[in-house]
Amino acid sequence: MDAEQSYQVRLEIFEGPLDLLLFLIKKKKIDIQDIPIALITREYLDYLSRKDRINLDREAEFLLMAALLIYIKSQMLLPREQLLVPEEEPRKELTDRLMDYQTIKAVVQVLREKEDEQMQVWKRSALTSPLPDEDLDLIEVSLFDLAESFFTMMKRRQGQDIKVIKGKEVTMAEKMNEIVNVLKERHYLDFLEYLGQQETLEEALIAFFCLLELIKARLVIAIQEQLFHTIKVWLRKEAHGKATHG
């Protein structure tokens, strides 16, 4: 690999499989209307095998495209009695998609330029007006605002309701048994979701302490995959038998 190529590669952060395909097509100077599928598939797979060069968050999408390319290739290898009309050509859909995506990329470029221009221009958003402006706070109301407004309101309400402690008495032992049973049935538990399902704040607190106890006793394992994300709880394998008597 020459120096220029590796330099180029480092610069590229592909936004998606189409972005990568367009890059390869350009690099190989291929006519988008007449894509040599075998060649492009090989190039594409080659790239995927060097995974550090694509955005790993969307690996599935890149793999899906690989599958599509292989599918098209296999379709084209099938023996046919007569030539296909252009619309039935398996490459047609790929070409259409690429063309469509190319347009979008051009639009992105135009909008980015316009955004740059507008960044330097300042308008006034707040003005001193002779009328009370309490009714002026919403510029655009969409259906989304309406629905969001409702569900946010409900969330707020739920937050208040949980403070009401109802009379139901739950012991630590009962709760612990319940948790273990749920884990046996469902294999894992979403920590926040489970706490959210508790009827009262008191019960949620008890459940919380029970989980802490179970973790301490090494009966369950709790994993947080990412900071601020929910915590998942699994039953440890060796604990299956023991926990039955919990």
Binding site: W122, R124, A126, L127, T128, S129, P130, L131, E134, D135, L136, D137, L138, I139, V141, S142, L143, F144, D145, L146, A147, E148, S149, F150, F151, T152, M153, R156, R157, Q160, H229
Partner: protein, 179 residues
């Protein structure tokens, strides 16, 4: 910079929500001598005062701010009144959403959902014909029942109430935000 000093100050006064004080100007125009700034401000205020235009710069609360000349007050008021009428406030929107998802519903129920007295918002929605009275509830005091109107559907571009986003759809979108 010096030859554009007047315009630089103009752009700053234009963008300030509060009257722009000489101290603030100084913060931005650090290297410019104080008397130059003062002179430019005076020129600027004078130029606007002498112009035929509708706006001028006034000195208030120790700073400078753009304002319309008093003679245009009637038009400004008329415009603001119109703008005000054509928009939904946050209060109104929240009330409307409570009605949309719970209809038919009574005022006490709406106020309970919002944990907030909704009489005023309800009236403004009735006035805008986004909701209507459809009867009375068979309950103590027989309170009036409200529903959204066809105008409500048109306003939000809905075909029917079935088209309102479902809780799951919204939840998914809102969760993305917290992710």
């Amino acid at each position: 910079m010096a030859e554009k000093l007047k315009e630089i100050i103009e752009s700053m006064i234009f963008i300030s929500v509060e009257p722009l004080t000489p101290e603030k100007m100084k913060e931005v125009l650090q290297d410019v001598p104080e008397q130059d700034v003062a002179q430019a401000v005076q020129d600027l205020v004078g130029a606007y005062a002498a112009s035929e235009g509708a706006i001028r710069i006034i000195q208030t609360a120790g700073g400078y701010v753009f304002s319309t000349k008093p003679e245009f007050d009637p038009y400004v008021r008329r415009l603001l009144q119109i703008e005000r009428k054509s928009k939904l406030s946050h209060q109104a929107l929240e009330t409307l959403s409570a009605i949309a998802y719970h209809q038919p519903v009574t005022l006490p129920e709406i106020s309970a959902i919002r944990v907030c007295d909704s009489t005023y918002a309800l009236h403004s929605l009735l006035e805008k014909k986004l909701i209507k009275i459809v009867g009375r509830k068979e309950a103590p005091g027989r309170p009036l029942l409200y529903r959204t109107t066809d105008k409500f559907l048109v306003y939000f571009g809905l075909n029917s109430l079935e088209d309102l986003p479902k809780e799951e759809e919204l939840k998914k979108l809102m969760e993305e935000e917290n992710a």
